[in-house]
Symmetry: D2
Subunit: 311 residues, 4 copies
């Protein structure tokens, strides 16, 4: 185990947002504990029009990955049989397919174990409990089996009156406040917050490289905001989630480390929030029932997810 | 294109349940059209306790596939980096993973294109619109983007007073009637029906081969029942969905062909309905909001799914 | 089956080099039939110094593929266990790995079935004998089980006095004549010819895109040269093998179609011939025993290969 | 690093066969250093008839793996395009395929890093130099780039006058002596030895489980024999290479640890030696030029191989 070696600012914030032990020494799902039965009942009550908005990008080889992140490959989809008359000529014919992909390649959740720092994972587990044979022993993506709650769209781009935030814009707590005001609701315990920057438009327009970098993203100051509200999970419409390159020199991926390791809060990336933004604008409300179930890959440190918002 | 060559009984039933053209010549999602905004609103109203029950089996190499179905491989999960300090020693460390799997290997939805017969797919599309390069041009699993509706558990095992149906038991329309009566509701247009046989217990007890065969499953007479109720989708807790070997000699996979090709109705397999059965029994009701979003593999003929029932 | 629709020049050359039926109607290996026991004995006699030169590029994610060719993915290598003490603590520990890759992604052989034209494969087989379930029924890469013969390096770059041929240079029969003269041998029946352009230097210098395009390659006039010499197989150090874009407008991949379909002659691409060029220059001879065994993927239309030249 | 904890017998033998430092502290290829130019020249001189015998099993999903070894998956071969007219209708059409497989799944070489013991790899490298990101830093299968030498078939089954050795038969140094006598040659420095038990017949007859277990294999006493002869590499026709379960209680995989870690000698498994046995019997000699080139997977701990014997 290495000693804490990150920037002092990081460790100060970490102290303030740390949730280790909050749900017991054995806990593996962190802030998802905040989604109680009552929260789910209230989430269901948000369904008024019955409108449904899917938030996943299509899974295809022409996905958001550009090859820069080693091993994070776009889906390779291949047919293993096509109209195969397996019981003889003239019988019912079957088609089957297989896929190879990085679990963090498309619209995905990071598991709490997707990053570690100072030799530690969420809840103080040693980083070396992730092994090649079996993946994450604790807090793998198979552990959070029901990620359904009230969703709140914090449409930062709209709140700032732009189509999309510029590459390099750090989304601050003040931005979140403004978007919350636009949403006309107060983010509360157990909510899943979706932060819209509009950056995914760049990918949708065909420029995967421009989508990746430079990108707007969450500031290192936002974890405290999420912690104060007791948010259950946060996702946005960028590749890196947080502002990249970072705000503080040599402090890389601090938001990942604060959200996942310190708070134990699920993070999602590459979510397409464009149609949801339109729907929320049309309906004049920014809350909904959000279902975003992880595929339960045993020991996985991430998962593709096909979220849906029910308005 | 081959001529119709299946058993006459099949073609008689097919005529009665056929939905081709019902939602237009261009339709690619079939009975999912029956899930209207109103259906979703009513589904949300089923959420009373806020209890959540996940229905997916863990995705792991020790999955339900035994190697009998060529190319349908259990998930091979591998770490591509573990606690990798990609920005230098002492920085935040990342773990990433990749997977190879058959899209129909675990808890899954069949796309409407998973089977064809007589050279045709759902809505009369030629079978050869499925190609190695791109998969299913029409009705791929990327087309039905929001599979959320009222779910109804038809607990046939419980209705028959057994732990699980015996291998070889054909679930009949009369079985469905009895389970519907137990459920205390009438299955209606747009519902997603989950049929519990209890067969998954065999896999959960460690016997993947015994789970596969002999298995209870849906009778060739059930598609008419689903058609009469205008069901949107059906899933159960078996490997083959339908009774296997078939009831009528040399008529293999007739239920697949009727549900997917003729009706255009999604089918799900390998769903774990055991805890849902317990929950429904405890709460004394068998209806819930069901979210079962396909992962949008472009051109896919199936998809892993992580369904969740909200009671 | 489609009718012949390619450029008239193609069909004229095709007539002159066609080998269909030459080794019987059932033949699946084409010009490899020319490698007789006697050829192999003479090849072994070429081993004089005992020097060995491997010709494969390393197999890695940072390979020659840039994503332009759909589905032809660079190797994704992942450890599935690392130092796993599978028999208990303190026992011998095992490491295992898995890979996903396109069979034509790195240094490879094309199978005779890698291309078809006018609905036909080598020896007149219908193109639709390649299926998703099973791959190539005839002439798959599992059929040529021993690709070992006399190798001849035709070092066109050296013969022209350049480090490497320019992108866009079409290697002509006259170029091959000059390189043959430099080699001081006459190419004869059963030989495997390696044509060096030097283009692989661009990839080795880190520019995979520049390597791909623009590239020198074999002219549409070269198949007749190979046919006249009764060559068994040809490989070179480029991504596309032939000059690309093509010499004749709208006649794409004519050399592939002539070599593989008409002649039934194996083609190899992405071979690293740089060290071989050095060795041949130093030893003053350009012939050697070449072993370049395909991995016998059943039904495969290509294979990675790790060739070695013994001088 | 753990302390030596294996059976005392193991450590005694280990001391006698250890090659660490023999070819320098930086060496990564071990006994392959014994294959000198002279050895290769003499190997080439073994080619008398020109007869070629391939030794690889076909690579297919119905391979030797039964699912018992986690992550070691048989090849999943899938077409990613079939007769795709990528340049427009009527142009030359392309077929491409992709594969996912365990590197040790079929006929393969173990890299020296395939096993470790007491925290060490060959040449004293720490076991933790194998990482998920990059695989084996030292002695990966990309390091031995030319595995070509004189091959000697030690046909133990024939020497003992049986079709195949019984499951559980430990091949002893005395067995090797007898087979060497039958071969009419003395195994010498740099040779690659192929030990035939006949066990592969069980797989070829369709019984993958019976092939795996019980199996004949090499005794823990054989590494000293190979060490005395200064053999460069050894392969045989079994799944586990060595006798399994082991001869000494609780001493698992000792031959792997002696051959790979202590001696630094490549091991091969699942080689089909049946036709080679026939050929050697017919020609009355058991020596040949053997080419068995690893596919150079960077950091790989094993590789599929397609060996060929030239008689």
């Amino acid at each position: 185990m290495s000693l804490p070696t990150l920037h002092p600012t990081f460790h100060e914030i970490a102290k303030r947002v740390n949730n280790w032990g909050r749900w017991g020494a054995d806990d593996e799902i962190g802030t998802l504990n905040l989604i109680t039965d009552e929260v789910v009942r209230e989430a269901a009550a948000c369904v008024r029009s019955g409108r449904r908005v899917p938030l996943a990008l299509p899974l295809q080889q022409d996905g958001v990955q550009t090859g820069v992140i080693p091993g994070r490959v776009n889906p390779l989809h291949a047919m293993v049989q096509i109209n195969q008359e397996i019981f003889g000529p003239g019988t019912v014919a079957c088609s089957d397919d297989a896929v190879t992909m990085g679990l963090q390649a498309g619209t995905h959740w990071d598991a709490l174990t997707h990053v570690s720092h100072s030799g530690k994972l969420y809840n103080g587990r040693p980083a070396d409990t992730i092994t090649p044979h079996g993946g994450a022993e604790f807090s793998g993506i198979d552990k959070p089996r029901h990620v359904v709650s009230r969703g709140v769209l914090l449409d930062v781009a709209r709140a700032r009156g732009v189509e999309r935030l510029e590459g390099g814009h750090a989304v601050t707590p003040e931005d979140l406040d403004a978007a919350e005001e636009l949403a006309g609701t107060r983010v509360r315990a157990g909510d899943i917050v979706l932060v819209r920057t509009g950056q995914i438009q760049v990918y949708l327009a065909g420029d995967a490289h421009g989508y990746a970098y430079p990108s707007p993203g969450l500031s290192v100051r936002t974890p405290e905001w999420f912690h104060a509200r007791d948010v259950a999970a946060v996702a946005n419409d960028t590749l890196t989630f947080e502002i990249f390159p970072p705000e503080i020199e040599d402090l890389w991926l601090p938001v990942h480390a604060l959200d996942l390791v310190e708070m134990g809060m699920l993070q999602g990336q590459n979510w397409n929030l464009e149609k949801l933004s339109t729907a929320c604008g049309e309906e004049g409300r920014y809350t909904f029932l959000l279902s975003a179930m992880p595929e339960p890959f045993v020991g996985g440190t991430g998962t593709p997810v096909a979220p849906v918002a029910l308005l």
